[in-house]
Symmetry: C2
Subunit: 300 residues, 2 copies
Amino acid sequence: MPLIECIPNISEGRRREIVARLATAISSAPGVRLLDYSSDPAHNRSVFTLVGDASGVETAVLALFETALASVDLRTHQGEHPRLGAVDVVPFVPIEGVTMADCVALARKVGATVAERFGVPIYLYEEASSNPARKNLEDIRRGEFEGLAAKMQSDGWKPDFGPSTPHPSAGASVIGARMALIAYNINLATDRIDVAKKIAAGIRHSSGGYRYVKAAGFKLDDRGIVQVSMNLTNYEKTPIFRVFETVKREAARYGVQVLESEIVGLIPSAALLSAAEFYLQIEGFHAEQVLENRVRKDEI
Amino acid sequence: MPLIECIPNISEGRRREIVARLATAISSAPGVRLLDYSSDPAHNRSVFTLVGDASGVETAVLALFETALASVDLRTHQGEHPRLGAVDVVPFVPIEGVTMADCVALARKVGATVAERFGVPIYLYEEASSNPARKNLEDIRRGEFEGLAAKMQSDGWKPDFGPSTPHPSAGASVIGARMALIAYNINLATDRIDVAKKIAAGIRHSSGGYRYVKAAGFKLDDRGIVQVSMNLTNYEKTPIFRVFETVKREAARYGVQVLESEIVGLIPSAALLSAAEFYLQIEGFHAEQVLENRVRKDEI
């Protein structure tokens, strides 16, 4: 079965009954599985993780918009996390048997439908954006809901779909397609925070490192060690094993060893299988040799 | 969905129409997928690979017995491969969401049913055997169909289920449970066959190596290199990364490098995920963090 992951972020993280209603809207869509959701009251925001095929995920997202628009009003919304709309961000992620192009097409289709059906202006982001200045979520969201009306009138900020003024209560939504994001930490057998910070600076894109790595160094005070904490934003182009080996090598330069690493949350199996392939030097390997992949491939 | 793999070996590899009928018998069982099958005319034998839950796999195996018994006669069967019966061997292999104990129970249940319904004597083997002298397939099959009647009368060879004389045309069947078998080769950047043979001897169980490794050294004449060719018979207890690292280390002792390795055929994802975990030093990892596992776990 082709598998798309979708991780909608909704600007409601305090009223439990509303969050439950949003979850029900998603899981009622045929062929869709709601894998996980969590709410942060300080952020006043909830994040849902669902998977399904294109048509199932589309149905779920449209139901989610309908429910969110009926119960979330940005004019009275307060929370620490920046937000532009009631349904703030909707990324589609290719997992299995679908391409990035499929997810881009889905983002455009869902964006157009939402704009038409609910009158919410839509900005496309990441791989779904055709405008380099509007690829990054942070750039699109700058100014937040409160600054949205003025921003939409300024040069270059006409939305991709829908009206050129914000939806009164729901603002605007950012919809797009991106690779699965892997939250990955490497713990070092030292309490020297300078080592973690130097390594993080060396591997992250912003300071000259790997293109699809975001990284920072932290102290884990309770354990007396330090951590290089990362987001890997494209595990195909910047694979996890290359990042791990680089961190290990750079740590050795300071006489420091890698204690362990950790995957936070979910990871697509392909990201780990490529590490096994690398270290075991496996040649000519195909994903269909993985027994479980074969089983799923044959499913209707 | 709980997933059991079953790899029945049938003593028919020449008559295409019979092989097709056997394949149809398997794939007609509800909830069962026939992943692969192949026939060897010289061996006069066909191997089928199917997966499903316990009840689906049971239905498929019983249908397979019915079809094979109607069309295969060991009294006129000739082929290079040793065989005891028309349905020669039926192993059940736990893949996902089932234990070895589940597969042992299934082997016993199917064995009892086959004996009762078709009058075929059944020997349980590997994990399903409670008799140490009757654990290995080779020991049970020694003497083959032609020597079966005499063997069944000798001490210690009363079958686990069914009559104490062979089925006239179908002999006896060996049914059991075992771990998934991984066919794994490591190619060395040398043409020195002595190096491959010494390493194979060092890692295989029979000469003092790892418990769940069978290995031999071969020359790959066309490429001018040598190969350590292996079967890993329990990838949980003798994991693939430990075998790879040992071969690499032993090769280095002769000044030889590992060129590459290869997985032949299918491999359960857990066998490769454990290698990723090892090399990336991932702590506290759970199979449910693999996105695809989560999706399948939630399936009914």
